[in-house]
């Protein structure tokens, strides 16, 4: 199950195992048969730590979703609630407990994820059910290993909390998570950072380290550097449309907890003899991680390079299956048969990704053709493909114009047209925010125009949306301050005219021209160092800093031994930034 975690250069399985051990311990505390009642939000992240099989080993017989009323009957001794510490969930739990069958009472337990909460316990007390719980514990799930080179806190609202509500709880969790990481992988010798939140996390880490000074074990550190970057140092990148294979899957279908839900039609199994009439109605859920060989190969490619990769793979797999004709001796046949499972998995993987690529192509590229599928497309389907792809192309063009500083001081007719067509509001907001970010705020007239169009077309309640966007700096009026974006762009070479999408030599291939600012900062940090871009750093928001947690000579020694890796943390990271960081590690 966790084979994907071995793929990276750091064995993240250690982290996962530690998390599983904690989980096992808690389950054993509630001895006897049990049923788990889940806060739905947690099922995703937990799925990355443990499967049902582990739970079964610890006598979990049933699983339910948390909802009001009475818990379904189940012949178990214990009911365990896995919940986030939220007051509204406490009310539901209280309802569950109160409506329990008095004749066949079960023991109740709560596991708060990631932390216990006194307010929540107080709420339970108010509802008169606090004493019904045998065990109340907390399960600290900070950094969850997603893939061999990726950890995530899966905290969807952390950007909003930090920048809009000035609530820095998630920063605290991040610091805690990093401390856990250091406990398992050794103290990270160098910490670099840029941004207010980064500074706070670093401060917390340093303080926490001081507090635990005595209990510190000397493990040889696996990580060389920690880079902390605030999201608001680079607001441009998340606004732009991602153009890698994985990026586009996320843009169109949304990847959550390493899974994607896809329209089922393309994935219907063609059974022998059936006409394929009974199409599945449930969306097809696929797991995406680097344990899947093909996916690992194409996920970070620019989408325009995926077709070639897939057809190449198809040839390889075809050839492998053809080998059966060459297998003459019993020994050879036996060997062929032993390879079959792997080949079948590869073929199934190819089929899946070909289907996904087709789905993406329907929306994006007019020049990107799969000959086989084109033959079967009807006239109308073809036409609808074309208009959807024209729109995608137009949208991309406008994005690139903004990124290169073209016409950022005027109302964009394309955006105006999109509003007139009532395109999804998120698309409009991304574009206007991008224009604002690239222009360091919009001219008052332009801003007023966009605002009025948005409010009239999408509703007056969006004065709240617009206010929030202004607060976090995404969509604001032009200030008297100079627009530094062109300077930053030129100095850090954020726009590369001639990117090679097929055989890239520069990270700008991920946006077909634009190199993410966050990645450039990382690149420069490694070589030649941030001192060379002091001026540019000053133009970006928040302090930049450097901390050392080990003696210099120690780091130097480790560098010499060539066993150190870089670790990057950004609040609210994107798949595309992920891929570029991984690429960077390879370089």
């Amino acid at each position: 199950m966790a084979s994907h975690l071995f793929c990276g250069r750091v064995n993240l399985n250690i982290l996962r195992e530690a998390a599983r051990k904690d989980l096992r311990e808690f389950l054993d505390k509630c001895s006897g048969s049990k049923a788990i009642v889940w806060d739905e939000y947690l099922t995703g992240p937990f799925g990355l730590i443990a499967q049902y099989s582990l739970l079964k080993e610890h006598e979990v017989e049933k699983m339910f979703t948390l909802k009001g009323g009475r818990i379904p009957s189940a012949a178990v001794k214990n009911i365990v609630f896995f919940v986030r510490p939220r007051l509204e969930l406490m009310d539901i739990i209280a309802e569950n407990v109160a409506s329990e069958d008095k004749l066949h009472p079960r023991d109740f337990h709560i596991l708060f994820v990631p932390r216990r909460s006194l307010l929540c316990e107080q709420r339970l007390k108010e509802k008169g059910v606090l004493n019904s719980f045998t065990n109340i514990d907390e399960y600290i799930l900070d950094l969850i290993p997603y893939d061999g080179d990726l950890l995530s806190m899966e905290s969807e609202s952390s950007f909003r909390e930090c920048y809009l509500e000035s609530d820095q709880t998630s920063l605290y969790h991040a610091a805690k998570g990093l401390m856990t990481l250091q406990a398992l992988y050794g103290t990270i010798p160098q910490i670099f950072g840029k941004g207010e939140c980064a500074r706070h996390v670093a401060n917390m880490m340093l303080r926490m380290k001081r507090e635990f000074a005595g209990s510190h074990t000397q493990i040889l550190p696996v990580f060389d550097t920690l880079l902390l970057l605030d999201r608001n140092v680079d607001l441009l990148t998340p606004l732009a449309t991602q153009l890698t294979y994985e990026g586009l899957i996320d843009e169109i279908f949304s990847i959550t907890n390493g899974y994607v839900k896809l329209p089922p039609e393309k994935f219907a199994q063609k059974k022998q003899g059936e006409g394929g009439k009974d199409l599945p109605t449930e969306p097809k859920k696929l797991q995406l991680n680097s344990a899947e060989e093909l996916y690992a190969e194409i996920r970070d490619k620019n989408f325009n390079a995926v077709g070639a990769a897939l057809s190449k793979k198809a040839k390889v797999i075809s050839a492998a299956f053809e080998e059966r004709h060459n297998a003459k001796t019993v020994g050879e046949i036996k060997q062929f048969v032993s390879q079959l499972p792997h080949m079948q998995a590869a073929r199934s993987s190819l089929a899946n990704h070909t289907s996904i690529a087709e789905l993406i192509k329907d929306i994006t590229s007019k020049s990107f053709l799969f000959i086989s599928s084109l033959i079967f497309l009807s006239q109308t389907a073809l036409l609808s493909c074309v208009s959807a792809s024209e729109d995608f192309f137009d949208s991309l063009t406008v994005e690139q114009e903004f990124m290169t500083g073209v016409d950022t001081d005027k109302v964009s007719t394309y955006i105006e047209d999109c509003v007139a067509q009532k395109d999804p509001l998120i698309k409009i907001l991304r574009l206007v925010c991008m224009q604002s970010v690239c222009n360091n705020g919009l001219k008052q007239k332009v801003l007023d125009f966009y605002k009025r169009e948005i409010l009239q077309t999408y509703g007056y309640k969006h004065i709240l949306t617009l206010k929030n966007l202004e607060k976090v700096g995404l969509l604001k009026p032009q200030s008297t301050m100079r627009n530094n974006y062109p300077t930053i762009r030129k100095t850090l070479k954020l726009w590369m005219e001639d990117t090679n999408e097929q055989n890239p030599n520069d990270i700008s291939y991920v946006y077909s021209g634009y190199a993410p600012l966050s990645v450039r900062l990382t690149q420069v940090l490694a070589r030649p160092g941030w001192r060379s871009i002091e001026e540019v750093l000053k133009m970006l928001p928040g302090p930049h800093f450097e901390e050392r947690q080990q003696h210099f000579w120690f780091t130097f020694l480790l560098k010499k031994l060539n066993i150190l890796f870089h670790l990057f943390i950004i609040i609210s990271i994107l798949p595309i930034e992920l891929c570029v960081h991984k690429k960077y590690i390879e370089l």
């Binding site: 917390m204 007023d448 077309t457």
Partner: protein
């Protein structure tokens, strides 16, 4: 799982602060008086000394079990002990009032760099002050009875940025809307407060109640722009309710032919305009449901109006109405066709609604740019226009090519034939 730290014991044994209890019999009053005096000694305030006795109310803190006190107590202890180094170097590194709602006493709000002597003196006392918040289950009236205490609290908070932020979160988490609004007002964050109030409308399902609520928001201190928008929002909903009520039981032809798919309530203004252009086109300006009335009341731009009306009338295939949209009289009194949106877009919209070619051609002809006109004509197979354009350009070859796309005996085919046979035309190729 929390573990008691050794510092706790030290604290309990060495300090004079007593443990927190829920007992109402605890002698609150003397301590409260003490704290009030402490507070007053910092502030220069002359009028609240006398009212203490009567003003102080017995209130209980509904979210404060012992655990959090010991936490804040530990902080107090460590801060007192380590004189030089604060336990929390930066203000924000205190485990903030988590969104998950860890309850901390009021005293915990006055942490970190806020430790001036005055606070140290009265903060622990404040933790013993029980304040009853509006409990959901009890429905008791709250702070009306203790305004003075609140004033002091707010005043202190204003000077302490971090504590303030924590407090705001706490109030949000607990759903203490009224208190939050009071706080915002006291802080002078009037626009925030107004928006916060306005936001509540999203929780009101019933349209009548929502309308009334919006009306009540009208006097709030919004920014000038937002004030206009909220006014519009109220006016719009008010009218939507009226239109909805009447249309629901309407029996006009149009409603039978095109039954409404959804109610108009809470729809944005443009959607409402479209609806009006669809079902109530041509009504006099005097009715709420007429497009003209909506256009004027909500100050819709000409462009938006024409686009919306065009969409609606095209959907109904009322080509005549579409035509009238673009008619303007120039200063000589002649009727001319004019459009704030490019005519190519008009053509697109008409085409999407299956307008017949002769209608399309009319508008394609109005496209200014010859290149655009040609490409649109080609796209939508407006043969006559294509032919005329090639004729004007004297492009023989294109005509020949185009002829092959047409049906043998169609009028257009023959037209091209005639043109090609016309010896008077001096073709360029």
């Amino acid at each position: 799982v929390s573990r008691a730290k050794p510092e706790d014991d030290e604290y309990w044994n060495s300090s004079k602060f007593k443990a927190f209890t829920f007992d109402d019999d605890d002698d609150e009053f003397s301590r409260l008086k003490e704290s009030k005096r402490a507070v007053n000694s910092i502030l220069v305030d002359d009028d609240d000394d006398e009212e203490e006795e009567d003003g102080v109310e017995r209130v209980s803190w509904s979210g404060e079990p012992v655990g959090s006190i010991s936490w804040s107590v530990k902080e107090t202890a460590s801060s007192i002990r380590s004189g030089s180094e604060q336990s929390f170097p930066k203000i924000d590194t205190t485990p903030s009032l988590s969104k998950q709602g860890s309850g901390y006493s009021l005293s915990s709000l006055f942490k970190g760099d806020l430790y001036d002597t005055a606070v140290r003196t009265y903060a622990p006392e404040l933790s013993h002050r029980k304040v009853r918040w509006k409990g959901n289950t009890r429905g008791t009236k709250c702070l009306g009875g203790a305004p003075k205490n609140l004033e002091i609290l707010f005043r202190e908070l204003m000077a302490r940025d971090v504590a303030l932020r924590h407090y705001v979160h706490y109030l949000k988490e607990m759903g203490e809307q009224k208190l939050l609004v009071e706080l915002m007002k006291a802080l002078g964050r009037t626009e925030d407060m107004a928006l916060m109030q306005y936001k509540e409308h999203l929780n009101i399902k019933d349209e009548g109640q929502r309308r009334d609520f919006l009306k009540s928001c009208l006097g709030l201190p919004f920014s000038q722009d937002d004030a206009t928008h909220v006014q519009d929002h109220y006016t719009l909903l008010e009218r939507q309710i009226i239109i909805e009520a009447s249309d629901k039981k309407a029996d006009a032809e149009i409603f039978k032919k095109f039954p409404r798919k959804a109610s108009i309530l809470n729809m944005p203004i443009i959607t409402t305009l479209y609806y009006s252009c669809f079902y109530h086109y041509g009504e006099s300006e005097g009715t709420y449901s007429s497009p003209e009335n909506i256009r004027k009341t909500f100050r819709i731009s000409e462009k938006q109006y024409i686009l919306t009306a065009l969409g609606a009338r095209a959907k109904l295939k009322s080509w005549f109405d579409v035509d009238s949209l673009f008619n303007t009289k120039n200063w000589l009194g002649y009727t001319k066709k004019r459009s704030p949106i490019g005519f190519h877009r008009v053509v697109d919209i008409l085409q999407k609604n299956s307008a017949p070619v002769n209608v399309l051609q009319e508008y394609v002809n109005l496209i200014d740019s010859p290149e655009l006109k040609l490409s649109v004509a080609l796209k939508y197979k407006c043969h006559d226009i294509v032919i005329n354009t090639y004729r004007d350009l004297k492009d023989r070859q294109e005509l020949v090519v185009y002829r092959e796309k047409l049906e043998r005996d169609s009028p257009e085919y023959r037209k091209i034939q005639e043109l090609l046979n016309n010896v008077q035309i001096r073709w360029k190729n």
